[in-house]
């Protein structure tokens, strides 16, 4: 190979490498700013809970749509209604922006002792239409939460005024029914507006 041909080969090779680099960058989805994407989405375990209409809630219930799942309880005055309102506002922003795929908002009660399906129904409806309120047997709830790394603990108190400590994250479950991402508290509507379209589009 002559010196001239070698130079041409180097120039062409460099241009090709630069082109591949730029193309790879362009194909990369926008970066998540707040959410943590689970590297290998996790299927949900076997469990049977109950929704606000008395229907069984199983792993299959989470197939077919994007779900934003929060674990809380209806006697929680601060973080639970605040988080549900943030999720409702994010969903409303997607509808306003004509984003076709909107997530379903799911509240799973970590206080099934007090949160009957009827109470859950009134509560989740308060934050908009199409929300799912899940309660049921404690043993079944624990199967669901343990598999997802969700912690909750009833705090001892006198009578009915007890509180429940609980994980404050919002889990994202993809339409294949897999736990695919997580938003950590504190929550903010802008986090969802930025990251959810990336998560939902990347699937």
């Amino acid at each position: 190979m002559s010196a001239r041909n070698l130079i041409i080969a180097i120039v062409l090779g460099s241009a090709l490498a630069a082109g591949i680099f730029v193309a790879a960058r362009m194909n990369q989805p926008a970066a998540l700013q707040h959410a943590f994407a689970v590297p290998i989405p996790q299927p949900l375990p076997a469990f049977t809970l109950i929704d606000q209409n008395g229907n069984a809630v199983t792993a299959d219930t989470f197939r077919g749509q994007w779900d934003l799942v929060f674990f809380g309880f209806t006697n929680c005055p601060d973080i639970c209604p605040t988080t549900l309102q943030i999720l409702a506002n994010a969903k409303r922003a997607f509808i306003s922006a004509k984003i076709e795929v909107t997530p379903r908002i799911v509240l799973v009660s970590v206080d099934p002792e007090r949160d009957t399906p009827e109470i859950m129904g009134k509560y989740v409806d308060y934050f908009g239409d199409g929300n799912l309120g899940v309660s049921g047997e404690l043993a079944e709830l624990t199967k669901f939460t343990a598999a997802l790394g969700i912690y909750f603990e009833k705090m001892p108190a006198e009578g009915e005024n007890y509180s429940v400590n609980h994980s404050a994250a919002v889990l994202v479950i993809n339409p294949q029914g897999e736990f695919s991402a997580l938003f950590s508290a504190p929550h903010d509507v802008s986090n969802y507006i930025h990251d959810l379209p990336i998560l939902m589009g990347a699937d």
Binding site: P77, P81, T82, K122, Y123, N161, N165, H166, A168
Partner: protein, 145 residues
């Protein structure tokens, strides 16, 4: 050029002068940005948020809050430890001299329990033991969807 004339009613002026005599030009404790959400349907509790400004030269201690529209009111704090939300009772709220404390979502807040009827206006009184420090009124905020 426009001139602005500030008219201060005499009674207000005398109040200011009186306050000045006490060494205070402003009310010692002032509440602002009061938000009290209505309890969700069927729920007997709600949260209240506000900013409390202490204009005095000494610390203000709030050890009790009450409201005729609620069975009882406590100051609580949501604490996030390793991603877990915990609710703690705040037995006394201390506001340092010339400082503000903000009660806000995800932090310190008023826990308002057992609403009496469905009031549109809420009165809140803040106490240091038996001493009334401040009484304020605010509308009940309806959550909009």
């Amino acid at each position: 050029m426009q001139t602005f004339r500030i008219r201060i009613p005499v009674f207000l002026l005398s109040g200011i002068l009186l306050a000045a005599c006490n060494g205070e030009a402003e009310a010692p404790l002032v509440a602002s940005d009061i938000v009290i959400s209505e309890p969700p349907p069927g729920r007997a509790m709600s949260a209240g948020y506000l900013t409390l400004r202490n204009n005095a030269n000494s610390v203000v201690r709030i050890s009790g809050v009450d409201s005729p529209q609620f069975g009882f009111v406590e100051i609580h704090e949501t604490r996030l430890d390793d991603g877990v939300a915990r609710m703690l009772l705040v037995p006394e709220l201390l506001i340092p001299a010339k400082s503000s404390v903000t009660l806000q979502p995800g932090g310190k807040h008023l826990m308002l329990m057992r609403p009496i009827g469905s009031p549109d206006k809420i009165s809140l009184s803040f106490y240091d033991d038996e001493t009334l420090l401040l009484s304020v009124q605010a509308p009940m905020t309806r959550r909009n969807n």
